[in-house]
Point group: C2
Chain length 182, copies 2
DNA sequence: GAGCGCATGTAAAGGGTTACATGATTCT
DNA sequence: AGAATCATGTAACCCTTTACATGCGCTC
């Protein structure tokens, strides 16, 4: 359901084609909401049927740019202010940690190092984005200001996971059954 | 796919029925991997067909407890050490933030206060769990030690999101088009 | 015996990914 | 001419949720 509003939100910035939207999802939104082009094209059709968007222009190679309608704009706004926030979260990384006790200590350490590296790199990537924005690389439009807020969230939780993975490496391995405690 | 391994992982601790597993997913794993009972029963059938688990005992009210087989145990272990980690993440909270510029400043502040409250409460809940574990309420088995590691991750990222929501309230609202930049 | 919690499942619908398919335009 | 990129879409499949359906066993 959120994809629907993600598309409306992006179209609120200006007309765009399915291809454009797929690219923007990939570039900007993928860390928090991945979306592939088949789903995007399908959703655009449904939004169009619902009168929330309409074709703005036809371009080369069958390009079809959509524009948000007043109905669509009210609908995103309604969602943003009145819609219940779905706080569901899924992280395989943390799910796995429930089962760390099944791993060989060496394999676990190796795994945690990899995880730490991944999360640190992702956090750094987000920091780079934030720095570019703060330098003014993307202008000062309201949209890029919001993007900056979103990026701050990404920095925060990827760093939190990086710190966690680092800390987890310091947790002593479980004492095998029967061994004395220390 | 992860649900499959989540079930195997839980069954590695000892025999359990679909009902038990649904409850444990709800109690312990739901913050990072929600799962409803229809999916769980379906997956158990498939795991049973694949020879990774087998019926351990029949109880009252048609209760069927499953036990993990050697094949199943190797399979979780293989997943944990060799399986590629899927780092996909979806947070509606952060997706919404890309579109904050569409909201009235007052509505946004209210929204962020609610979000901060939610994330703080969730982080505190996790802290309570961690404290109980550290007090020794759940014993010192390898399983509960791993659970403690998982809980630390939850504390980390929920706190990160709480901090973010608090910080976002201090970001000045976008200057409406045409207004001078103060 | 009424009500609650235990216990299992099916059916339908929704959401999302991957693979397949096609063709136009631009760049080198 | 060939390669890369733009551009749209369908089909099949997988994963997940919600609603429906049923019945047993325990407690008050």
């Amino acid at each position: 359901m959120s994809l629907r509003y993600g598309l409306l939100g992006l179209l609120a910035e200006g007309p765009a084609s399915g291809y454009d939207l797929a690219r923007r999802f990939q570039e900007a939104l993928s860390p928090v909401w991945p979306a592939q082009h088949p789903k995007i094209y399908a959703e655009l059709s449904r939004l169009s049927d619902a009168g929330m968007i309409e074709v703005d222009s036809h371009g080369p190679r069958g390009r079809k740019a959509y524009r948000i309608t007043d109905t669509g704009l009210s609908e995103v706004r309604r969602w943003l202010t009145e819609g219940e926030v779905d706080h569901t979260l899924r992280t395989e990384s943390v799910l796995r940690s429930f089962f760390f006790w099944l791993m060989e200590p060496d394999d676990l350490q190796e795994h945690l190092r990899r995880e730490q590296r991944f999360f640190t790199e992702t956090a750094d990537l987000a920091r780079g984005y934030a720095a570019a924005k703060d330098r003014g690389d993307f202008g000062t439009s309201p949209q890029t200001r919001s993007m900056r807020v979103a990026v701050e969230a990404a920095i925060g939780f990827y760093q939190a996971l990086a710190d966690w993975a680092e800390w987890a490496q310091t947790v002593p391995p479980a004492i095998p059954e029967g061994d004395p405690e220390s």
